[in-house]
């Protein structure tokens, strides 16, 4: 029996009219999508509108169908965005930028050429070939010859300071402290130039421009070979994250040791450590982690609880999911619980993870490699620092893991 005969004998249901509109309406009502990029001028109005979103939802839902029919061609080719938190923005029709908190981008161009100005922060770019794409920074330009790369721009005044060292550590192992511009290439290649000298960086390479303005090759960044499968890619990514985690952890330990040594013996005792147990309900990991808010105790504590939960979901869950997928490759039916206990300590203007332990639980997944992966991955998360006077915040975070 041929496939055509089979299809005739076993017909399938057709999508009903208006199906796509209904999907998008549901997205509007409960979406967890990247927000459309507001311009700097419109950001305040957008935030105000967000507060009143529930009041205008019915109108939005009704207007959506009409809007979709009249939606302008393509994403904005001109934009100006300051990222208050990590976010993804489309730049023209051929690029997406993943912005870290505090990054600032302005861009303009047409279908043939896109110019981006990045004056601060860390941004990862994915660019489709076929049109010119250039990132201009105060220290030099990065011209795209391939597809995927990361640019970190330092403030010149902060380049030698502790907060910037922390940011370099986050940017990637091997980044030179004191560099003003740092670029790493995941795929393809880019040209790093200061208008007089240039350096072509290929996949797996990194380069930097320091205070002397000269582009130099940096220590190589581990990268998956082109022919590596998903497992090979994940292994390389894990290796890179572990290097980053090691750097962050070392730096945090040095900071704490230095602070301890400098503290006078007569110092009054600090506020006892704060402990949060998050969340009260269990988190389930499938491919799509679900999260619901825990009951608040007070406004500030509730905000901090929610902030920590959101940050863990955003920064840690994707890596934890990779750990679990690797475990499933070794043990296809593995499932259970991991109860993470970690401390957030202040490090300059950010909070970093100082220690990660696993609490005992009868359902704990006992695989040592998986446990190591879960612990190590958490070191890369960056939080707001603990409140003044609080040395560290301890967080207990139970995570359920089960095949979907």
């Amino acid at each position: 029996m041929t496939r055509i005969e089979l299809e005739r004998a076993w017909p399938a249901a057709e999508p009903p009219p208006g199906f796509s509109e209904r999907v998008l309406e549901r997205l509007q009502l409960g979406a967890a999508l990247p927000e459309p990029a507001p311009t700097r001028a419109s950001a305040l109005g957008w935030l105000r509108a967000r507060r009143a979103r529930w009041l205008v939802l019915p109108a939005v839902a009704l207007a959506l169908v009409g809007m979709l029919l009249l939606w302008p061609v393509g994403p904005a080719r001109v934009g100006d965005v300051i990222a208050a938190e990590p976010r993804v923005v489309a730049i023209g029709e051929r690029a997406v930028a993943e912005m870290s908190s505090g990054a600032h981008l302005r861009w303009s161009g047409d279908g043939l050429q896109q110019e981006v100005q990045q004056d601060r922060g860390a941004v990862s770019y994915r660019v489709l070939p076929g049109a010119a794409f250039r990132v201009q920074t105060p220290q030099g330009d990065v011209t795209v010859l391939g597809t995927e790369f990361r640019v970190v721009v330092a403030d010149r005044e902060q380049a030698e300071g502790e907060p910037m060292k922390k940011r370099w550590a986050i940017a990637g192992a091997g980044a030179t402290l004191g560099a003003l511009l740092w670029v790493s290439v995941e795929r393809g290649s880019v040209r790093l130039s200061n208008h007089e000298q240039e350096l072509v960086l290929r996949a797996g390479q990194a380069g930097a421009i320091g205070s002397d303005g000269i582009p130099r090759l940096e220590a190589a960044v581990p990268s998956a070979p082109a022919d590596a499968g998903p497992a090979g890619g994940r292994a390389a990514e894990r290796a890179r994250k572990r290097q980053v985690a090691d750097t962050v952890r070392r730096h945090a330990a040095q900071r704490r040791a230095a602070a301890l040594a400098a503290k006078p013996a007569s110092d009054p005792p600090t506020t006892p450590p704060v402990e949060f147990v998050l969340p009260k309900e269990e988190h389930t990991f499938g491919p799509y982690p679900s999260g619901t808010p825990a009951p608040p105790a007070g406004p500030e504590e509730a905000r901090r609880r929610e902030y920590i939960k959101r940050t863990v979901r955003e920064q840690y869950f994707p890596m934890a999911r990779d750990c679990y997928l690797e475990l499933l490759e070794r043990q296809p039916t593995a499932g259970g619980k991991i109860v993470l206990e970690f401390a957030i300590v202040g490090d300059g203007d950010v909070g970093v993870v100082d220690r990660v332990e696993l609490r005992e639980d009868p359902d704990t997944i006992a695989d040592p490699e998986f446990q190591l992966c879960m612990r190590e991955s958490l070191y890369t998360a960056v939080f707001e620092p603990p409140p003044p006077g609080v040395e560290e915040t301890t967080v207990v975070y139970p995570v359920m893991l089960a095949p979907e």
Binding site: A13, V23, L24, P34, P36, G74, R126, T147, P287, Y288
Partner: protein, 192 residues
């Protein structure tokens, strides 16, 4: 209207459109849904039967996919359609497991077009034979069969979608095909 081609040469959405979907642009997301909705409905309706739940599951499939799209690696080995249909398959199998034993899926209930009453009767008999045979298949075997025969999934992709081993997929496919072959042979025997 979109400024770039919706479909790429291999039947997937164009890479530029995928980037716009990953950035959450509504017009691109609409094109994404419209590009793949037929395949998703076909898979769901053949796996769980023609049931009102099909649209709910199709919506859930797209909502999950859209939320996870920023993490989809366009340069990775997985095709977008394979990834999307894997989500749909898992949702369908979950739905099958939740159903009570009494609620057997109602497969292929639509009448087929036929040129003559005689042809119509023959096709109806064939349809009934296939429907009956498929109805007897466990949901895991049916899902493997649908993915292989209607959506061109490789054994490895089916194994990923069903979270099982390739050898298990081969066994399920063998059994499903054997049952259908027996049903067709029986039908032909009756027709002769």
């Amino acid at each position: 209207m979109l400024a770039m081609p919706v479909h790429w040469d291999d039947g997937e959405i164009a890479p530029g459109l995928l980037l716009r979907c990953q950035a959450g642009e509504p017009a691109a997301l609409r094109a994404f849904v419209e590009c793949y909705q037929r395949a998703v409905f076909a898979l769901l309706s053949r796996t769980i039967g023609r049931h009102p739940e099909v649209e709910d599951l199709a919506q859930e499939t797209f909502l999950r996919a859209i939320r996870a799209l920023p993490t989809f690696d366009a340069d990775g080995a997985a095709r977008l359609s394979t990834w999307l249909l894997t989500i749909a398959t898992r949702l369908a199998l979950d739905a099958c497991r939740k159903r009570t034993r009494e609620q057997r899926p109602a497969l292929a209930a639509d009448p087929m077009s036929a040129s003559t009453p005689e042809h119509e009767a023959q096709r109806a008999q064939l349809r009934d034979a296939i429907t009956s045979a498929i109805d007897e298949l466990p949901s895991d075997q049916r899902a493997a069969f649908v993915l292989a025969e209607f959506h061109g999934f490789a054994i490895e992709d089916i194994a990923t979608a069903l979270r099982t081993r390739k050898s298990t997929v081969k066994t399920r496919l063998f059994r499903a095909r054997a049952k259908l072959s027996r049903a067709l042979a029986h039908h032909r025997g009756q027709a002769e």
